[in-house]
């Protein structure tokens, strides 16, 4: 292929990625944006097989490459298609991790290929890619394990942990310097190993609400590694695409942190400042008021305004259709019904919007936190479906608890609060919720979908 045409097509792909990101930031154009990005990526993948080569060179390993792509498609597509809505966040984390791993492998292979012929700048870019790529890979794997609840979701902090982390980081940077000054394969290998360890240590102390921010941050990091490998490989497309993701990912991370009221700095350096938490207090012996589905139906039936607060429990129970049925029934009785959507309810920003959109909940009924909060004093009943941390007053009243400072839905202002919960287990952040013991709170234990179905039939019987 002619070199000019090849580079021109690269430019087309880069522009398609800009259009993709632009499209993805508005609801109307989002799906089209994603398809434009996918089209660009496909074009780039086809074109690279016809890349112009220097004199006397030929294409290698084409069969192997095609086989690897085929296997990748066979793994990636079913994983993405079959995944439950509830598990999407961890899948995104995993995809991000393998991308980071791929960038680290690409840089390493190219480093071996260049050998002693590599320029200083190329070695620096390689070192950067391997460090950040490995960190992103192992960090993403840990976030995956946390979100999949294959390990504890609470911050893991051990005594002296911050010194271990600082020492690991110093080791990573030290071996990085060693690689840059002396070259050779051993320093790079040691550095990669230490960077993998650093990724694990970096994510372990991150708890609950901060996990989505970390995924977004690692995503931006991976973008930058792609840009750095683009420099080594002399590919404008990789530089542009990687930098775009790095820059937009950084902004997105900041916006997410703002939406959650978290300090980005605190999240970033949580690993260095985290202190071991005191063991959870003695087992709670205070009594709670639990009600039957009939009690709940009666409360709802005589309300004028009901706000439904969905959380991760709704996603787990796949109760989005049942909750909509209930809301429709209440609306038919002339009750004012709205959904109070906390920006980070569930496991990721926007998780609830996606879930409720699946059940065709009218868009006007989804009310964002800032708009719904002032209406709680005029609300008779708040129905909390599988949410906990996002309505936990501890975020306002208990300095030092992991969610302190996070904006919450002020459901305690409402006349009655009904919690649909599986058990008394605390939420993702692992903090006790005082509101459960409040006199105006009624608890209905059980799977959210079962409970809602029972409430719906009780309401029909009224």
């Amino acid at each position: 292929m002619n070199k000019n045409i090849y580079e021109l097509l690269g430019l087309v792909v880069a522009l398609s990625f800009i259009l993709a990101l632009k499209g993805l930031s508005a609801p109307k154009t989002a799906r089209r944006g994603n398809l434009i990005g996918a089209g660009g990526a496909t074009l780039a993948t086809i074109v690279v097989f016809f890349a112009p080569l220097g004199v006397g060179k030929s294409h290698h390993n084409t069969i192997l490459i095609l086989a690897a792509i085929a296997i990748g498609v066979l793994v990636g597509v079913p994983a993405a298609r079959k995944i439950q809505m509830t598990q999407m966040p961890q899948l995104v984390a995993l995809f991000n991790g393998v991308g980071g791993g791929a960038a680290a492998l690409v840089a390493t292979a190219e480093y071996l290929n260049l050998g002693a012929g590599a320029s200083k700048a190329e070695v620096v870019a390689t070192v950067f890619t391997v460090i950040v790529g490995c960190t992103s890979f192992s960090g993403s794997v840990i976030t995956f394990l946390k979100l999949q609840e294959l390990m504890t979701t609470r911050p893991v902090v051990f005594p002296g942990g911050r010194f271990v982390i600082a020492a690991t980081l110093a080791g990573v940077l030290g071996t990085g310097g060693w690689t840059i000054s002396s070259g050779g394969n051993t320093p790079l290998l040691v550095m990669g190993g230490l960077a993998l360890l650093f990724g694990v240590l970096f994510v372990l102390p991150v708890g609950g609400a901060d996990v989505p921010i970390v995924i977004s941050l690692l995503n931006a990091f991976t973008g930058l590694t792609v840009a750095a490998s683009g420099y080594v490989l002399q590919s404008t497309l990789l530089i542009v695409a990687g930098t775009l993701v790095g820059a937009s990912g950084t902004i997105l991370t900041r916006k997410m942190a703002e939406a959650m009221g978290r300090s980005l700095f605190g999240t970033l350096f949580g690993a260095f400042t985290a202190k071991p938490q005191e063991a959870a207090g003695a087992a709670e012996t205070r009594s709670v008021k639990s009600g039957s589905p009939d009690d709940v139906a009666i409360l709802l039936n005589y309300a004028q305004r009901v706000v439904i607060v969905p959380g991760f429990g709704l996603a787990v129970a796949q109760a989005q259709h049942t909750v909509r049925e209930l809301a429709d029934m209440l609306a038919a009785k002339g009750i004012d019904v709205a959904y109070g959507i906390h920006p980070v309810a569930g496991r990721m920003p926007g998780h609830m919007n996606v879930l409720l959109a699946e059940a065709n909940v009218p868009y006007e009924q989804l009310v964002e936190m800032d708009e719904v909060n002032p209406t709680f004093p005029q609300t008779d009943v708040v129905l909390v479906v599988g949410a906990n941390d996002v309505v936990n007053p501890a975020a306002k009243t208990t300095p030092g608890c992991p969610i302190y400072g996070m904006p919450i839905l002020d459901v305690s202002e409402a006349g009655n609060v009904i919690f649909l919960k599986r058990s008394m287990r605390p939420g993702f952040a692992g903090i006790e919720n005082e509101l459960l013991y409040d006199a105006k709170t009624t608890l209905l234990f059980g799977d959210a979908k079962d409970s809602l179905t029972k409430v719906v039939s009780a309401l029909k019987a009224l």
Binding site: A44, I65, F95, G99, L112, S216, I239, G242, S248
Partner: protein
């Protein structure tokens, strides 16, 4: 390519990256993150280039592993983003359709 040209491309890309997502609504944070995640799967192109020029078995193995991982990142990323966005599709239309249906009665 000169270093200056690369630096220029890099700097301009940063600003474009900042600019295109500056107005994103909270609702779209997750799909946007997922879409950006799929875009960095473009490292697949780099992986193919390296595999194409690999001269030793070790290089080839590393590069082929990179091709595999990058494909999963890219293809899976775009598919999962599309699935998320599929949920948003037709939302403004749904109530309108039911009204039309009522009117037809």
């Amino acid at each position: 390519m000169t270093s200056m040209a690369i630096l220029t491309i890099f700097a301009l890309s940063i600003f474009v990256g900042f600019e295109v997502v500056s107005k994103v609504s909270t609702t779209l944070h997750t799909p946007l993150m997922s879409g950006a995640n799929a875009i960095h799967g473009i490292i697949l192109v780099g992986a193919i280039m390296v595999a194409d020029g690999a001269t030793s078995t070790l290089e080839t193995s590393l590069a082929i592993a990179a091709v595999l991982l990058a494909t999963i990142n890219m293809v899976g990323g775009f598919v999962v983003t599309d699935r998320m966005l599929e949920m948003f599709k037709g939302k403004p239309k749904a109530p309108k359709v039911s009204k039309d249906a009522e009117a037809a009665k």
